[in-house]
Structures are given as structure tokens and as C-alpha cells.
């Protein structure tokens, strides 16, 4: 049974069609890159997968259950974790609190309040930070970290949250090439180690080919191609990024 099952998903904003009759399956452990020109619907698709955006029509089964049946946040948090470009940490909190935020779904009210003053499950946070190479920054204020380090803190939070599927929306778009490679290599390595499933939108086709086994290309809200990385040719890509005016 596929972990993610999308059937004829359509999403419309005002009069603009963001996704039109989109269907694909993702199996457990798959590493999928989403590519396509700006405005192709990559972010809308990821938001739909995360359960943030509700599609107008179509069905979305997550682990065999329709997404709208996940009523409780913490149930959904066990299935799906999200990492974005950069704005998703609380800069004024210490690193450890940002990492432990991944546990909030598990914790009761008193434990989470207490943790603000006396961090709980410290070993868990320390382990996660150790794996992303930031153990020495445990108590630093998050705003003092560089962009690449902040993105690694977000990775540590995902490790603590430990969801079945990780959705990444352009997670390296605001980093320089060296840091971007670093974060990508780390994220894909961790996903493999944890046996998780990864769906990531990317601007760089190069990175998509290097780190992913399957590439889904979107164009105008539709699946343009959905192929194993090895079968993708230059012609595919040229056509995908062709400007519309020239295509006509």
C-alpha cells in the first residue's frame, strides 16, 4: 500500500487553477523531488500534502486514511513533518527549545510549560543536535546562528518529531551552494537512516538528480513527467522549463 495516494486533486485560488487533476503515489522510503518552473504549483502541492491546504476535489489518502480524518494535530504530526525555506524557527528562543518543539505534540500542558524553564527530554534534543553536528550550540540563541546552522536546527527538530513523511519546500533556496549541498546531503542521509519518506520541492535540477531516485515535474498544476532519475533526459528538462510564449 502506498504511503501517499493522490487521486485527481484539483485546487483553485480565486480564478487561478493551482493544481488540476493531479494523481500520483509515493511508496514508503521513496525519495521524491518536485521540480518545475515558478508558479507550477509545487508549494500548493506540498501544502496539500501537509494538510494545510484543502483541495477542491479529489482524494488524498495518507497511509490509507483520508487526510481529513486526521482530526488531532499530534496524529498528523507523527505522519507528516514540514521543513521550509528558513522562517520556521523561533529566533528568540534557545536552540534546544526549537529542537524540543518537535515533541510538543507528545507532551501534555504541564510538561511543555515546565520545559520552557527546565528543558525536558534533554538527551533526545542533544542526540538530534549531535547528528546534525550542532551539539555545541545547544543553549545558544537561535537568532545568533547562521542560515545553514538554522536549517540544521530545523532538521534536528524534524528528527525529534520523527514523522513518517518529510515534506520539504525549497529547504535550501536561501543558502549558498556549499551550505545548500551540506543541508541536502544531511537531510537525505538522515531520511535514509530513519527509513522515512521524503518529498522535496527544488529549484535546482542538478540537486534533484544527485540526491533523489524519482523526480516529479509539475507544470501549470499538472504532472509534466514522473520518472525515475535515470530515465530523465535533457529534452525532458528543456521542454519543462521552456517559456510559454516560445512553446506556442
Amino acid at each position: 500500500m502506498p504511503l501517499i495516494e493522490l487521486n485527481n486533486i484539483t485546487k483553485q485560488f480565486e480564478r487561478k487553477i493551482a493544481l488540476s487533476s493531479l494523481s500520483f503515489h509515493v511508496k514508503k522510503g521513496e525519495m521524491v523531488a518536485l521540480i518545475g518552473p515558478s508558479g507550477a504549483g509545487k508549494s500548493t502541492l506540498l501544502n496539500t500534502l501537509a494538510g494545510i491546504t484543502a483541495p477542491n476535489t479529489g482524494t488524498y489518502l495518507l497511509d490509507g486514511v483520508p487526510i481529513q480524518h486526521y482530526k488531532k494535530r499530534k496524529e498528523l504530526a507523527k505522519k507528516i513533518g514540514v521543513i521550509r525555506q528558513q522562517f520556521d524557527l523561533i529566533a528568540s528562543l534557545p536552540v534546544i527549545q526549537n529542537v524540543l518543539a518537535g515533541r510538543l505534540g507528545e507532551w501534555g500542558f504541564f510538561k511543555s510549560m515546565l520545559s520552557l524553564f527546565l528543558p525536558q527530554d534533554k538527551q533526545l534534543a542533544a542526540n538530534a543536535l549531535n547528528r546534525v553536528g550542532l551539539l555545541d550550540k545547544l543553549y545558544d540563541q537561535t537568532s545568533k546562528l547562521s542560515g545553514g546552522e538554522q536549517q540544521r536546527v530545523a532538521l534536528a527538530r524534524l528528527l525529534v518529531q520523527s514523522p513518517a513523511v518529510i515534506l520539504a519546500d525549497e529547504p535550501v533556496a536561501s543558502l549558498d551552494p556549499a551550505r545548500a549541498e551540506d543541508v541536502l546531503a544531511m537531510l537525505t542521509k538522515l531520511v535514509k537512516e530513519e527509513g522515512q519518506t521524503l518529498v522535496m520541492s527544488l529549484h535546482s535540477v542538478e540537486y534533484a538528480k544527485k540526491y533523489f531516485s524519482r523526480i516529479i515535474a509539475l507544470r501549470d498544476g499538472e504532472v509534466f513527467f514522473d520518472l525515475p532519475t535515470s530515465e530523465i533526459t535533457k529534452e525532458h528538462l528543456a521542454e519543462l522549463y521552456l517559456l510559454k510564449e516560445m512553446a506556442l
Binding site: A77, E106, S112, Q161
Partner: protein
């Protein structure tokens, strides 16, 4: 067309200026220019006030009184701000609606809280003071509530606005990690607005010192009361002593808030 008319507009404005100027000059004729018009002793009083500025009364009695009234003023301001913070925090969080997920419930609770905040800050602290003095007499509680209630209204409204202005992305990330709304408040909203909240509260605390001093004009003790008594006795040197104490308190709080802000800056 417009270009054709523009000299006309210019002309109009010039004539309006002339008419107003004429009206002003004409109004001067209706003033009775007698010696009674100005305070005859005004110059002498000015000299006395300036003398007081240069030679404030630094006798032990007055200094003791000034320290004592400064203490009263600061205590009123601190307790008043404590009341204000409680009101502001509760009504501010409710007024921002960040704890409620259902839209209709949010509109009702946020609207109600914001309305309460608006009503209590619409009434000036001096009016509150007069009301409380009428109800519970010249007791410190009158001063504390008179300060705390309108300041709670002001702070609460600002807190609510700050909470509403928090960027959505970090909060959404917390939600995605399984955080409840209360979690988001403690781990997201409050840490994000913390430094703004503290610096605005410190500024309001400074204002509350001034308000506390003024409020004692209604007889509630403190620096304002002493200033009023000394003014009535025409002891300007004493007035200046008390004013210097007031200035010193405000400067000290300003220095404190600066050092706090420096430590909290992101």
C-alpha cells in the same frame, strides 16, 4: 482646463489668507488693553521660580519628605503596572484571538475583549482616580486601580496587536510539529514578541510614574501632592526639589529599560 484654473486657485488661497489676517487684526481691537490683562506680578513670579531652580530647598526635612513621596509615587506606579499587566495579558491574548480556532468563537471573544480594552482605556486615569476616591475614599487602592485599569487597556491593546502581527511561518511550523494553540502561544507568539513587549511595558512604566505623580493631585499622596502643597504656599524652591526627584526617577527607569533592552535585543 486644470492648468487654466490653477492661477484662480492660487488667487483664491491668497484672498483667503488676507481675509483671515484681517479678521485676526480686527479681533485685536476687541481686546481691552488694560493693565489687568496680564498678571501684574508675573515677572516677579518668574524670577522667584527661576531662583527656586537655581537654589532648590535641600533642607533635611524637605529631602526626607521628597524621598518619602518619591517612594509612594514609585510604589503606586509599580503596583498599578502589575494590575495593568495582568489585565493586559489576559485581555490582550483573548483580544488577539490566537488561542481560539473556531472562527465565530474567535470573532466574539476577540471582539468582546477588545471592546473591554477600549472602554477601560477611553477613561483617563485622573477620571478613574476621582471615581475611585469617591467610591473607596483616599486609600492607596484608589490610586492603584485608577492607574492599573486604563494602563491595562492601553497595554492590552498593544499586546493584542503585537500578537496579531507575528509572522505566520514560524507558527505554522509549530502547528505542523503537532503543537496546540496554547503551545504556539508559549513557544511561538510570546517569545517572538517578548522584546517588543518588554520595551513597550518599560515605556508605559515610565509614563505611569508621571501619571502616579499627577494623580496624587487628587489627594492620594506622593510627589504630585507635595508639589501641589508647595505651589499653594508659593515655595518654588520646594517645588523644584520635588520636580528634581521626579526627573531622577524617570531618568533611572529609562536607564534600566535601556539596559534591559540591550540584553534582550535579538
Amino acid at each position: 482646463m486644470k492648468q487654466l484654473l490653477s492661477p484662480l486657485y492660487l488667487h483664491k488661497r491668497l484672498s483667503l489668507t488676507l481675509v483671515l489676517l484681517a479678521a485676526f487684526i480686527w479681533s485685536l481691537f476687541s481686546v481691552t488693553w488694560s493693565r489687568d490683562l496680564l498678571h501684574a506680578g508675573g515677572w516677579a513670579t518668574t524670577v522667584q521660580i527661576l531662583e527656586g531652580l537655581i537654589k532648590p530647598d535641600l533642607s533635611p526635612d524637605i529631602l526626607e519628605l521628597a524621598v518619602e513621596s518619591s517612594w509612594v509615587t514609585v510604589v503606586y506606579a509599580v503596583t498599578g503596572m502589575t494590575v495593568a499587566l495582568i489585565i493586559a495579558f489576559v485581555l490582550g491574548v483573548l483580544g488577539s484571538g490566537v488561542l481560539v480556532s473556531s472562527r465565530p468563537v474567535r470573532i466574539v471573544t476577540a471582539g468582546f475583549s477588545r471592546a473591554v480594552l477600549a472602554i477601560i482605556r477611553a477613561i483617563h486615569e485622573l477620571v478613574w482616580a476621582l471615581l475611585f476616591v469617591a467610591v473607596i475614599g483616599l486609600s492607596p487602592y484608589a490610586a492603584i486601580f485608577a492607574l492599573g485599569i486604563p494602563y491595562g487597556g492601553i497595554l492590552g491593546r498593544i499586546f493584542a496587536d503585537m500578537l496579531n502581527d507575528v509572522p505566520g511561518e514560524p507558527i505554522q511550523a509549530l502547528r505542523a510539529a503537532g503543537a496546540s494553540r496554547l503551545h504556539c502561544l508559549m513557544y511561538g507568539y510570546l517569545p517572538l514578541i517578548r522584546s517588543n513587549m518588554i520595551s513597550y511595558t518599560m515605556y508605559r512604566f515610565e509614563c505611569s510614574i508621571r501619571s502616579s505623580a499627577i494623580m496624587s493631585f487628587v489627594g492620594l499622596g506622593g510627589l504630585g501632592y507635595q508639589i501641589q502643597l508647595s505651589l499653594a504656599d508659593l515655595h518654588y524652591d520646594e517645588v523644584w526639589t520635588f520636580l528634581f526627584f521626579l526627573i531622577a526617577i524617570v531618568v533611572l527607569i529609562d536607564a534600566w529599560s535601556n539596559s534591559l533592552r540591550k540584553r534582550l535585543v535579538l
